[in-house]
């Protein structure tokens, strides 16, 4: 096979595919919204809580019982092996394993779906751009659609994009059982025990605590601008105003940082957060870790030797 192959399809096929993808995306969004509404229906006091990474930390599953350090090594290791695969079929398999992990961790699927939807815009760009921009190699299969012949969809590019999307989704799905099944301080403490600098761990914890405070401040300031008639336009004036806005946000964040540090010092902070030492290792921790790493290796072997990538 030394030349590319081409095939023309009616335009309606493309339109149908776009419509189908759009409908699926909208359906997922609607499902999420409905689920959220059902959850809060009838409540009169607004739930001011912010989305929490570790909101399901109080559950009971093998992921909850798993020692955080082993869980980190196993799932991060598995994720690296998934990323090393090349075929979309391996990526699909990894995604299924990710879904299985979410199920085994007894986590609500809506949270994972929300995470995937948040990435969907970015990933959709891959699916759109890569088939159009992949340089045709000998043996590539090119699709064209009647009416827009100048656009050639390279199926190798699509396969590459699907592999990236699949791997990204698999890793995103794994993050739920990894981060949501233990409290964040515990997970961060686990990272510290694995050699991540303590200061980095403290920064993660403080960032998680204050990111929502800053977002709320940003929202209030944006409302303050809105009630005085500000509308974002493509103009120098908008750029100037946005510059002022971001500058002021930075000043406020900076001031708050100082105040928080003062408050910490006032309660005897000496550079270390009190770290609860509640780690215990059992045989099951070793076993689970070995299983996940082995699964990752098998997946990689399947990708490299079975599928021949």
């Amino acid at each position: 096979m030394s030349e590319t192959q081409a095939m023309q399809l009616p335009l309606i096929y493309l339109l149908l595919a776009v419509f189908l993808c759009g409908t699926l995306w909208w359906l997922a969004l609607w499902t999420l919204k409905t689920a959220s509404h059902r959850h809060q229906e009838g409540q009169q006091e607004r739930d001011w809580s912010v989305p929490l990474i570790d909101s399901a930390a109080g559950g009971d599953s093998l992921f909850h019982r798993w020692d955080v350090r082993f869980k980190l090594v196993a799932l991060l290791g598995f994720a690296f092996l998934v990323v090393a695969t090349r075929s979309p079929w391996s990526a699909l398999l990894a995604m299924l394993l990710g879904l299985l992990a979410v199920r085994l961790a007894r986590l609500p699927f809506a949270r994972s779906l929300r995470r995937l939807l948040a990435m969907s815009g970015f990933l959709a760009m891959f699916l759109l751009i890569m088939p159009l921009t992949a340089v045709p190699h000998p043996g590539d299969f090119l699709l064209t659609f009647s009416g827009i012949d100048f656009l050639r969809f390279n199926l190798r590019g699509l396969s590459l994009a699907l592999a990236i999307v699949g791997k990204a989704c698999a890793v995103a799905l794994l993050m739920e059982p990894l981060l949501a099944t233990a409290s964040l301080p515990r997970t961060v403490e686990g990272l510290t025990r694995l050699g991540v600098p303590e200061k980095v761990g403290q920064m993660i914890l403080l960032a998680h605590r204050y990111i929502f405070v800053f977002l709320e401040e940003a929202r209030r300031m944006a409302t303050g601008m809105q009630v005085r008639g500000f509308q974002r336009r493509t103009s120098m004036q908008t750029l100037r105003v946005m510059g002022n806005y971001l500058g002021m946000l930075f000043v406020r964040s900076f001031e708050r940082t100082h105040r928080v540090y003062d408050a910490m010092q006032a309660r005897g902070y000496q550079g270390r957060f009190p770290a609860p030492a509640y780690f215990s290792v059992g045989k099951s921790d070793w076993l689970h870790t070995a299983c996940w790493l082995l699964l990752g290796l098998l997946l990689l072997c399947f990708d490299r030797f079975w599928l021949g990538n």
């Binding site: 409290s183 403080l206 998680h208 605590r209 303050g224 809105q226 309660r267 005897g268």
Partner: protein, 615 residues
């Protein structure tokens, strides 16, 4: 009134807990914040540290906790300078409650936050749990022990921050504006907690009623110096001295001061609301803005407004009151078109489409509770010009409006000042100017006086009274509600519970059970302060009728007799309605007091038997 040599009004039977001698401090930009502070604080003292914004209060307490180093002078805590190892120990004994509780709750759960200080005190993690539970239980938050702090309401956060300190059993508790942004219900809980605290209490506050409730001693700072150090009662009893330092809140008591003093229990400190130009929804004027059966739910499904009916007429001034979470802010957002719900929303009789609601900013201006949310430009002039520019006005008109608005809020000449560098009161007035420059038909004010010192509060009130706009005011402050509005909407759980005249609202007892306004101890304390301010001593001749052994030459006997002499008496006076002259109670008052040596004096008075023998 400045008597700096006077000894502080405390019992120094032992060594002072804090001894500050000739303390000076300047910030890196050269601004002198403290200039020769001398202060002794005894264990168990309860001090209100008062003064205008920028007087050096915060700088002083940051020294007391060792957050700022001593540049010049001496700072002794428990007999030793506050440095090195002693400073580290001291920080674990001195608790500071910061103004914004979000600064103080930096851990992932309440448990971790309370635990933080205890572990730094050297306690083992395994042993702290009962103490954490006890501390949270003492502030009524035991049920939220494993909750992250961003799940809490503002009042709960404030209490949680206090629990973090109380768990450490501090010998000294320093509070920075503890009542700021608290609703009356939460404030009541905080006051109760602080009443029970037995250590040294140092409180920075502009709220002198709160300070009067909790503190015995008042230290007045002005431009980095201590100007007065006396009892709280002495401070509040002397309005000229308070006025000199921008602390005079007597204007809040004016409504009561102009009346004859009624009995204590029956007293109300609230002034008469402004003349009723048509109360409740029965007003006759043109309807400026109206909501009909209006509902709003947040994306998470929370029903924030449920069938709200509200008509605002031209020229009206309406207060919206309700506990936190009642839906006040959501209602304002909907009125402004920031949020859009379902139901009727009309402006001057015409129904508004969703798109038209987003243009309401052209007619409706809103001043936020925190002016920082509204100020983002590099200069005051730019800030005030922002709105008119968005309206598309020509440059000359924008300039004219900027001058006019700044003048109206008493900030003429502030054109090139940086908003970030202004005082709290000035920033608040600037925020109002940013809205006034757009000449809105309706002005919405959200807690306009929150965080202001009394002088700033009085000035702002004066400015607000001058504004001709139709107004909506959201406030927990009964004084402000009474001063600025004629009609009140009581909100509860997303519904309008009552819509009546402000006079009826203030007289309504049922709203008190909802804790809508900051009454309670404040009413009682206001009354006491008013009496203190009207108490003075006169010395003049007056008659006494009394019975004691006395001498007439050789004759010694005892019987009721009357004679005249003068000595000072304490009086509580009243003012006539149209006079600054005061008068004392006209009725005869009988009282007990000693007359040392009076028995030995020669008595010359007529006896009944003398009169009968004469007859």
């Amino acid at each position: 009134m400045h008597d700096l040599q006077r000894l502080p009004p405390i019992d120094f039977s032992g060594p002072a807990q804090f001894e500050v001698r000739d303390l000076h401090f300047s910030y890196p930009n050269g601004q002198a914040a403290l200039r020769g502070i001398d202060l002794s604080i005894a264990a168990g003292d309860r001090i209100a540290l008062v003064g205008q914004n920028g007087s050096g209060k915060s700088t002083l307490i940051r020294h007391l906790n060792g957050l700022l180093p001593v540049q010049q002078g001496e700072l002794i805590y428990q007999g030793e300078p506050l440095v090195g190892e002693h400073l580290r120990r001291a920080r674990l004994e001195i608790g500071v409650l910061f103004q914004d509780p979000d600064d103080q709750l930096f851990c992932s759960t309440l448990y971790d936050d309370v635990c933080f200080g205890l572990v730094n005190q050297g306690m083992a993690l395994e042993t702290v749990e009962p103490l954490v539970r006890q501390a949270l239980a003492s502030v009524g938050l035991e049920g939220l022990i494993y909750k992250p702090s961003h799940h809490l309401s503002y009042g709960q956060k404030k209490r949680a921050a206090l629990a973090c300190l109380l768990a450490m059993r501090p010998q000294v508790l320093i509070l920075d504006e503890p009542t700021a942004n608290l609703d009356p219900g939460q404030e009541k809980i905080l006051v109760e907690l602080l009443r029970q605290y037995s250590g040294t209490l140092i409180c920075i506050t502009h709220d002198l009623l709160f300070a009067f409730e909790l503190c015995q001693r008042a230290v007045v700072l002005d431009h980095g110096q201590i100007h007065h150090d006396y009892t709280m009662a002495e401070l509040v009893a002397h309005p000229p001295s308070m006025r000199e330092h921008g602390l005079d809140f007597s204007f809040r008591l004016a409504g009561l001061a102009n009346q004859d003093l009624p009995p204590l229990q029956a007293c109300t400190l609230l002034p008469e609301p402004p003349a009723d130009t048509g109360t409740a929804s029965h007003s006759k004027g043109t309807a400026v803005l109206a909501l009909g059966n209006y509902r709003f739910s947040y994306p998470d499904g929370t029903q924030a407004l449920q069938g709200v009916d509200f008509v605002l007429h031209a020229g009206e001034s309406v207060a919206i009151v309700g506990e936190n979470g009642a839906g006040k802010t959501t209602l304002l957002s909907c009125l402004m078109g920031i949020q859009s719900g379902t139901g009727e929303h009309s402006l001057e009789g015409a129904n508004l489409s969703r798109k038209q609601r987003q243009l309401l900013w052209r007619k409706v201006g809103m001043v936020f509770q925190d002016p920082a949310d509204q100020l983002f430009c590099a200069s005051c002039a730019e800030e005030v010009a922002f709105g008119p520019r968005q309206l598309g006005l020509p440059a000359e008109e924008v300039e004219r409006r900027v001058d006019q608005a700044l003048q109206r809020v008493r900030l003429s000449g502030y054109h090139h000042r940086v908003p970030l560098h202004l005082s709290g009161g000035e920033r608040k007035r600037l925020a109002i100017a940013t809205v006034l420059s757009m000449q809105p038909e309706l002005l919405i004010l959200d807690e306009p006086t929150a965080g202001l010192d009394p002088q700033g509060e009085e000035l702002l009130l004066e400015i607000l009274k001058e504004l001709p706009q139709t107004r909506i005011l959201v406030s927990h402050d009964p004084f402000l509600v009474a001063e600025l509005t004629q009609r009140t909407l009581v909100m509860h759980r997303g519904r309008v519970l009552e819509d009546y005249s402000t006079a009826d609202f203030l007289a309504d007892q049922s709203q008190k059970s909802l804790n809508l306004l900051a009454l309670g101890y404040r009413q009682q304390r206001s009354r006491e302060i008013l009496e203190l301010q009207h108490q003075h001593q006169h010395s003049h001749a007056h008659y006494h009728l009394h019975d004691h052994p006395h001498r007439h030459g050789e004759l010694v006997h005892s019987h009721p007799h009357e004679h005249q002499h003068d000595h000072p008496h304490a009086y509580t006076h009243t003012h006539g309605a149209d006079s600054s002259e005061h008068c004392h109670p006209p009725e005869v008052g009988y009282h007990e007091h000693s007359h040392p040596g009076h028995e030995e004096e020669e008595h010359r008075h007529v006896h009944p038997e003398d009169e009968s023998s004469d007859g």
